[in-house]
C-alpha cells in the first residue's frame, strides 16, 4: 500500500516515548522496507539524524506544544477566514517550487506526531470553548494531508472523531489522488476532502511530484460519490502567458467531474511569498520562472502580483466558477477588501464576517452538516 511519496522515505526515526503507540505500529506496517531507528530523545535528534534530505526521513514522535492553532493567515488589510490548523505532519514530499514550507520549516526530518489522543483532546477543547458556532479544522497547512501513509493513518482517526461532532468540519487538503485508505471511513458528512488545483502546464513546471489535475479531479469525483464534501483551492494562481484559457479549461474539467452541489467551498489565492523566499526558490529550482513574475511587495510585505493584475485574473476565474446555477461558495485566501469588492461586488466586513459566511453557506447548502442556524454574533470573537 506504499504511495509513491512513501517510497521516498529511506529511514524512520522513532522517539522512545512513542514506541508503543498504536499509530506507530500501523506506520511500521505501512513502511515495511524502511530502516527503523530508535532514538532516546529529540535532543539527540540532530546528532543522530544525518545531513540528508529531510523529506526522505520520518521522525515519529510526540508533540511538545500546541498542535492545533489558529491559521497564521496574513496581516491586515488582507482578509483571512479564521481557519484552525492541525499541525500533525510537518513537511511534504511533493516539492512544489512555490511551497512556503521551504521557508518555514528547518527540521532535519518530516515529523509525524503520533499522540493522536492528545491532539484530538486539543480539538475537543477548541470546539467545547465555542460550541455554538462552526469551526473548520484542517491538516494541510504544514504538510499534505494525504501524501504520506503516516498522515493518512492520522486522518482516519480524525475522520472518525469529526463524524461525531455537530459543529465542526475536518478538511483534508491534498494534491495527491491517494484516497483509497480513507474512502470507506464513516464520516457522517463532516469531512471535506479538498484538492489544490493548477492547470497541467503549471503542474508540469512547478508541481512535478504531484499527479496531474485530471487525476486529482477523478479522485475528487470518487470521494464525492462516497458522500464526502469536496473542496478546491486554486492556490497559488500563477500568472502564465496563457493563464485565462488554462484556468478556464480547468474549471470546465472540474465541473465535468464533480457536481457543484457537492462542493463545500472553492478558494482563490494568487502566488505570494516572503521576499527572502525568492532566493530559496532560485537556488532550489533554478529552472522555475516563478521568481521572475511581476511581483510587488504587498501591504503584508509578501511578494504578490499587483492588485490590478490579480483582479483581472480573479475576475475571469470567479466569473467562470459562478456562472453556473447555484455555484459553490467561492472565497479568497489572503486578499484585500478592494479585490473582494472589485471581483465579487461585495466584501466581508472582517475576518469574523468571512468566517460566518462559511457557516451560512454550509447551513444553506448542506442541511444537517451544522446543528443550528448560524448567527453572525456568534462569530464575532
Amino acid at each position: 500500500m506504499n504511495l509513491p511519496a512513501d517510497r521516498l522515505i529511506k529511514k524512520i526515526f522513532v522517539a522512545a516515548e512513542c514506541a508503543r503507540d498504536e499509530i506507530v505500529e500501523q506506520i511500521f506496517t505501512a513502511y515495511p522496507k524502511q530502516k527503523k531507528i530508535a532514538i532516546e530523545s529529540e535532543k539527540s535528534l540532530t546528532e543522530t539524524i544525518p545531513q540528508e534530505d529531510p523529506k526522505k526521513i520520518l521522525l515519529v514522535t510526540h508533540s511538545k506544544g500546541e498542535v492545533v492553532k489558529d491559521c497564521p493567515g496574513t496581516a491586515a488589510p488582507y482578509l483571512c477566514c479564521r481557519y484552525q490548523v492541525i499541525n500533525q505532519t510537518l513537511n511534504c514530499p511533493l516539492n512544489c517550487t512555490y511551497c512556503i514550507l521551504q521557508y518555514y520549516l528547518n527540521q532535519p526530518a518530516t515529523i509525524i506526531y503520533t499522540d493522536y489522543q492528545k491532539i484530538i483532546a486539543e480539538i475537543e477543547q477548541k470546539i467545547a470553548s465555542q460550541s455554538h458556532r462552526l469551526l473548520r479544522f484542517g491538516t494541510g497547512e504544514l504538510g499534505d494531508s494525504l501524501a504520506l501513509t503516516a498522515s493518512q493513518i492520522f486522518a482516519i482517526k480524525l475522520i472518525g472523531y469529526f463524524a461525531t461532532q455537530k459543529n465542526a468540519l475536518l478538511e483534508l487538503k491534498t494534491k495527491t489522488d491517494r484516497i483509497g485508505l480513507i474512502l470507506d471511513q464513516p464520516h457522517n458528512g463532516h469531512t471535506v476532502i479538498s484538492w489544490s488545483l493548477n492547470p497541467l502546464v503549471i503542474r508540469n513546471s512547478e508541481e512535478h511530484l504531484a499527479p496531474p489535475p485530471t487525476r486529482r479531479l477523478k479522485a475528487a469525483a470518487e470521494a464525492a460519490r462516497r458522500g464526502f464534501l469536496i473542496g478546491f483551492h486554486f492556490d497559488p494562481i500563477i500568472d502564465i502567458p496563457d493563464w485565462e484559457n488554462q484556468y478556464l479549461d480547468l474549471i470546465e474539467e472540474l465541473y465535468h467531474y464533480v457536481d457543484p452541489a457537492r462542493i463545500a467551498w472553492i478558494s482563490l489565492g494568487s502566488l505570494r511569498f516572503p521576499p527572502s523566499m525568492k532566493t530559496k526558490i532560485i537556488a532550489r529550482y533554478p529552472y522555475s520562472r516563478l521568481p521572475y513574475g511581476e511581483l510587488i511587495r504587498g501591504q503584508d510585505q509578501k511578494m504578490r502580483y499587483s492588485r490590478p493584475r490579480r483582479t483581472e485574473i480573479y475576475r475571469s476565474i470567479y466569473r467562470k466558477l459562478t456562472e453556473i446555477r447555484e455555484p459553490p461558495f467561492v472565497y479568497f485566501c489572503m486578499e484585500s477588501p478592494t479585490v473582494w469588492q472589485d471581483v465579487c461586488g461585495f466584501t466581508p466586513q472582517s475576518n469574523a464576517h468571512l468566517d460566518y459566511l462559511f457557516a451560512e453557506s454550509l447551513w444553506r447548502r448542506f442541511p444537517g452538516v451544522i446543528a443550528e442556524s448560524p448567527r453572525q454574533e456568534d462569530y464575532r470573537n
Binding site: 510587488i296 499587483s306 490590478p308
Partner: protein, 316 residues
Amino acid sequence: MQIKKIAIEQIIPSQSQERLFVEEINPDCNKLNESLFLQPVFLHHTCDGFIILYGFNYISDIYKCGGKNIQAFVIPKSQSLFSALNIVADFIRRSRPLWPIEIARILQLFNQQQFSNAKKSAFFKKFTEKDLTRTLEERYLALIGLNPLLHKFLIEKKAPLKTWFLTAECPPVIRDLILNLITECQPSLSTFEEISRNLLEILRRENIAPEQLTAEMSQVLIEKAEKIQPSQKLEIFRSKIQERRFPLMTIHRERLNNFLQTIQLPSAVEIEFNPNFEERGYRLKAEIRTPNDLRKLTEFLNSAAQSDLKHLLEIL
C-alpha cells in the same frame, strides 16, 4: 614573527603570481622610506626565498624609487602557507572583514595547492562564519572572473556578498554594459544592484540572448545620447529597464498617466498615488497660498472634474 629588514632582491614572485589581498594605501604615508615600517608588508620565508603575501604595491613603489630593502613582517619557514595566509587574514580582519574576492582568490589558491577540504572549510568558516558547500564555493570562484574595475566598485561601495554574487551571475556582455554605466554615470550601490538584478531577471523571464538585450538597451541610450548629463542617462536607463522588467505595471501606469493628463488640474493641485497600486485611492495635494488658490480648488472640486476624479478611482 618579527619585523625584519629584507633585501628586495631576495623577494620572489609568489607561485600563483596572484595578489590575494586587496591592499589599502595608508593615506598618512606619503613619503616612501625603506628604513621605516610605514605600510604593512607580509613576507613568507620559503626554501626558495621570500614570497609577498601582502604589500605588493608598497614594495614596488620603494623599488621604483631606488630602494634596496624593505621592512616587513616575516613569517618563518616553519609556518606552512596555510598558516601564513591565516596570519595575514587575521591581521586584515582587525581593520575590516575580508572582501569576497579575497576569499575567492584564497579558495582558488587552496585548490591549486590541493589543500584538503577540511582545511578549506576551516579557513572559510573562520572568515565568513558560513559552512563551505560546493555551490557556495562555485559562487565565490565565479567572482575571480569579474573585471577588476567591478571589484574596485564593489569594494568602494562596501557591497554585500549578495551583490557580488549577483554581479558574477550576469553574463559577460551584461557586465560590460553595467561597467560602462559605472564608468560614465557612477550609480549608487542600490541603483547598481537594481539595474543588475532587473537585467538578469529580464533575461530569465524573456529567455532571450544577453547580446540581444544588451543591443536593445544600448540603443535606448544612443537614441537619447545627445546632450544629456550622466545622471539623466542613468535615470533613462534605469526606468527603461524597470519598464521592461514590469511590463504590465508599466502599461497600467501609462494608462493612468494618460487619463490624468485629460483632467484640468489647477496649477496648485497635484494627484499622487501608490506606485505599486496595492492600495486603491489617491492623494490630492493642494497648496493654498492665497484666497484665489482656495477659490480655484473649490471650483475644481465642484466642476465636471468630479466625475473624472471618480473615474480615476475606478481605474486605479
